[in-house]
Every structure is written in structure tokens, then in C-alpha cells.
């Protein structure tokens, strides 16, 4: 058995965060979340349990929608999507996400593409997983410069969804919406609490000795390296190819 790669830790963490969902939507250009969902499906299938439906967004070949680009949002509004991933140019300590730009608005110093459809699924999908590999004070800020999608909403505002976790290349946080704020759940192999603190621009809660992010066991790893990556050019062929290129 070769050493477990850091991305395999991320994929396994995502599979665990998704446990129990019936339908997860993942972006076509998000191989790690997609692989996490596919790993969960393989794990469920191996145990003979019901498998989650995985919908690949923005894939021309595997487009499973037939009502244009509004259908994803409608589908989420109807409660048909249980989990979703969101990244961000900036993410702050109360779960706000900024996809618009840094330094002023509208004449931002650094302009990113824009908010896309972030706010809506963030407000209606029950399990939104914030995923950003870069874990630095530049990304994880105290307060975002622009709120594309708010982490929590004021009392009285209808909201059925929101963030449940933030996964980075260094650690996993759980989101506590009552606080609101992030609680460090575990640290990935190779990092420590000081490193996490130094690279996180917002305050977060943590145990004195936070746990280590779990690595997949042997059988899970062989599912990941086998079934998930080797899946032939079927529904998820393009992901498999991407993953194969990224995971030596």
C-alpha cells in the first residue's frame, strides 16, 4: 500500500460529510467534491445500502437537466438537493462568502467573476460544504469585503439551508450557526494547531488538542483508487480522468 495522499484525505472527509444524503450536486470542474460523492456512493454500494444520486453541474456531456440553467435553482428550491459545495475568494468567520472582489465596490482592486448563483442554494440546501484548498489569511478572512452569500440570516428570514462545514487543505471545521462561527473539527496529517491558527484570518473555536482528520482504511482506499478512479468512460469518466491526472 502506498502512502495516503493529502487529496485522498480530503475526498474521504467529503464522503463522510455527505453520509446520508439522497442527492448531491457537484460542479463539473470540482474533481475533489465529485470524487468524495463518488466514493460515498461506492462505499454505500459495497455495503448494499441505498446509493446517493450524484448530479454533475455544468457538464455538457453529463447534463441531466432539461430546463436550462434555472433548473438547478428551482430543483434546490423544491428541496430536491440535499448537499452542495461552495468555494469563495474570501470566506469569513461567520460563513459569509465573497465571490465578487477585494478592496472596494464597485471599483474593486481585485475583481473576481461574480456571485454566480451562490446565495440561493446557500439559503435552501441543507448541507452546504465550503471547500477551498488554499488555507491562508488571504482567503479565510475576518470579514469578507463583499457578501455574495451570507453564512447566517437574521431571525425571521426564511432559510432552510446553510453551511455545515469548511474543508481546506489543512483542516476541517464544523459550522455552528447558533454561535455563529466555525469550530475546528480536525487537522489534516502534516499540519498542527499553530499552523492552522497562523493561516486562518478569523477566530474559531477548538479543542485544546484537536483530532487528526481520518484517513481512509484499506478497503475504502481501494474503492477510491479502484472503482472511483477507474470507472470507465461512463457517467463520471471525465472526473476519473481528472482525478487520475491529479492523483499519482
Amino acid at each position: 500500500m502506498t502512502a495516503i495522499l493529502s487529496r485522498e484525505i480530503l475526498i474521504y472527509a467529503i464522503a463522510q460529510l455527505l453520509d446520508g444524503v439522497k442527492h448531491v450536486a457537484v460542479g463539473a470542474s470540482s474533481p475533489i467534491p465529485a470524487a468524495g460523492a463518488m466514493l460515498l456512493r461506492a462505499m454505500k454500494a459495497a455495503k448494499g445500502e441505498p446509493v446517493p444520486r450524484i448530479s454533475v453541474l455544468g457538464s455538457v456531456e453529463h447534463n441531466f437537466f432539461t430546463n436550462g440553467s434555472a433548473e438547478l435553482f428551482d430543483c434546490a428550491a423544491q428541496g430536491r438537493i440535499d448537499a452542495f459545495f461552495l468555494g469563495g475568494g474570501q470566506i469569513d468567520g461567520v460563513g459569509n462568502v465573497n465571490l465578487v472582489g477585494a478592496g472596494g465596490y464597485p471599483q474593486s482592486d481585485v475583481r473576481w467573476p461574480g456571485s454566480f448563483g451562490s446565495a440561493y442554494p446557500y439559503s435552501v440546501v441543507p448541507r452546504v460544504i465550503l471547500f477551498r484548498e488554499e488555507h491562508s489569511p488571504r482567503v479565510l478572512v475576518d470579514k469578507v469585503d463583499f457578501v455574495s452569500a451570507p453564512g447566517v440570516s437574521e431571525r425571521g428570514v426564511s432559510r432552510s439551508g446553510g453551511p455545515i462545514a469548511l474543508l481546506t487543505g489543512k483542516g476541517l471545521f464544523r459550522f455552528d450557526k447558533s454561535h455563529p462561527g466555525f469550530i475546528l473539527d480536525s487537522i489534516h496529517p502534516g499540519y498542527d494547531l499553530d499552523e492552522i491558527k497562523a493561516s486562518t484570518g478569523f477566530k474559531f473555536q477548538h479543542a485544546d488538542r484537536p483530532g487528526r482528520t481520518a484517513s481512509p482504511d484499506g478497503s475504502t482506499l481501494s474503492l477510491l483508487r479502484g472503482k472511483v478512479l477507474d470507472e470507465p468512460a461512463g457517467t463520471y469518466g471525465e472526473f476519473a480522468a481528472k482525478m487520475r491526472a491529479e492523483l499519482p
Binding site: 455544468g58 455538457v60 475583481r111 467573476p113 454566480f116 448563483g117 446565495a119 457578501v147 455574495s148
Partner: protein, 254 residues
């Protein structure tokens, strides 16, 4: 003039974009349905645009949209930052001939704070509270896109890319370029009819083979990734942009 333009994978009429730049225009109000890319970047770079209403503008894997980003920094375009479902909601309101569509999920965003045309109302059907945002109808003058085929009667086959239909319903007139024009009536066969935008909505159809290039067209040809990267590099400066456009044969006629 307000122009509705589709997302990069739905069918972008780059052929018509080049023609627009050659002919010239000013102070265009672009509505991206729901995001923009190369087309929007080129129209901005060529100085045709006054306002951009969009959920995002980027060149996707080729990176940020250079002329859009520069225009944002300069403040030379008016920005109406939106989010995908709000664009869809505004077009749907126009489709239905209603003044607005309500939409949740916007309260607490800075999008709402900057969009004075979006209004918060307490849901009149709830007992108390329940604030909800009203998105006013978006009624473009023209919708422009590229599709695989049209028939001699002006019916355009858009397949499952129904955002193209949504744009057309909301707009006064729709102009389309297509890869090919077919003899048979596309509405006559239920199989093709299922993907047709009827002639009723169409102002004109022009044939433009590979009219989405360097974008791809679903079911027809893939994007020309090298060309998109070449543009992304070249258009980092205004000079580079104009040099690139001249190279691909697009200069204002004036």
C-alpha cells in the same frame, strides 16, 4: 439598448459579436443569462458597453475576463451585480408580463444592498414578517444567440437549452445565428418540436457555420481552448486586445 446574451456553454453567437463590433454601437446594456464570458469581454473591450447586468463574467478555465476586470477597476462601465436565479426571475417576470417575481435567499447579501431596483416586502401571505425580495421584470430589447439549426419557417432548434427560450420570451425581438438551415418544418415532428423555439419570437435567423467559435456548441463542436487562452493572454492590455481583434479580422468599420 438592452441586449440579452447567453451563458458560454448554451450557444453564444460570436459571429454576431464580431459583426456588432465592426458596425459599432454605444452604451449597450448587456444582460448576461446568467453569466458572461468572451463575448461580453470583447464588447466591453471594443467600447460598446455602458452597463453590465450579470451574475459573473469570466473566461472559465482561461481565467478572469481581462477587459471586464479593467473596466470594473476604471469604473468605465456601470455594474449591476446579480445572481443567477435573480436574472432568471427577472426574465420570468417579463415572460409572464408581471411586474416582479418574489425571490428568497437574497436578504443579507451585498448584492441586495447595492441593487436599489430590488425591493424587500413582507410576504403578504404570511401571518407576520417573512421578508422576501421582489425582482423587477427584465425586458431586453433584443436577445442574441447561436443554435445548431433553424428551418425555413424561422423555427429555431434550441434543444434542452431552455434559457435561450427564456431570453426570447422576455425580449422584444430575438436574433439568431445557426450552423445550418433545414428544409423540413421542425415543428412537424414531435421529436424535433420538443426542442424548438417557435418563429413567433424570432426577428431574423442568419447562417453562420462555427458561429460560436472560439466557444463550442453543445452537440456540435468543442471550445477552442487554445484560442480562448490566446485571447486571455492578449487582452490583458487594451493594446493587446485591439491587436488580437485586428488579427481575427474584427475592426470597427466607422
Amino acid at each position: 439598448m438592452t441586449i440579452a446574451l447567453p451563458v458560454d456553454y448554451a450557444g453564444v453567437s460570436m459571429a454576431m459579436t464580431r459583426e456588432m463590433i465592426r458596425r459599432g454601437a454605444s452604451d449597450l446594456h448587456l444582460v448576461c443569462v446568467p453569466t458572461g464570458g468572451l463575448q461580453v469581454d470583447q464588447l466591453i473591450g471594443a467600447g460598446l458597453v455602458g452597463t453590465v447586468e450579470t451574475s459573473a463574467v469570466s473566461l472559465g478555465e482561461a481565467g478572469g475576463a481581462p477587459r471586464f476586470n479593467a473596466a470594473v477597476r476604471d469604473g468605465s462601465i456601470r455594474l449591476k451585480d446579480a445572481t443567477c436565479p435573480a436574472i432568471h426571475a427577472g426574465l420570468m417576470a417579463a415572460q409572464k408580463g408581471i411586474p416582479f417575481l418574489p425571490m428568497r435567499g437574497l436578504i443579507g447579501t451585498d448584492l441586495l444592498r447595492h441593487r436599489k431596483d430590488w425591493r424587500v416586502l413582507d410576504n403578504p401571505l404570511a401571518d407576520a414578517g417573512d421578508p422576501i425580495v421582489l425582482i423587477p421584470a427584465i425586458k431586453p430589447d433584443v436577445a442574441i444567440f447561436h443554435a445548431p439549426m433553424a428551418d425555413r419557417f424561422g423555427n429555431v432548434w434550441i434543444g434542452r437549452r431552455r434559457e435561450l427560450a427564456a431570453m426570447a420570451y422576455a425580449s422584444t425581438i430575438t436574433l439568431v445565428t445557426v450552423e445550418r438551415i433545414v428544409e423540413e418544418n421542425l415543428l412537424a415532428d414531435e421529436l424535433t418540436a420538443a426542442g424548438v423555439l417557435p418563429a413567433l419570437y424570432i426577428g431574423a435567423v442568419g447562417q453562420a457555420p462555427r458561429g460560436a467559435w472560439p466557444y463550442g456548441l453543445w452537440g456540435e463542436y468543442p471550445p477552442d481552448v487554445a484560442e480562448l487562452n490566446r485571447y486571455a493572454q492578449a487582452a490583458r492590455t487594451a493594446e493587446g486586445f485591439f491587436r488580437y481583434m485586428a488579427e481575427v479580422g474584427v475592426e470597427a468599420v466607422s
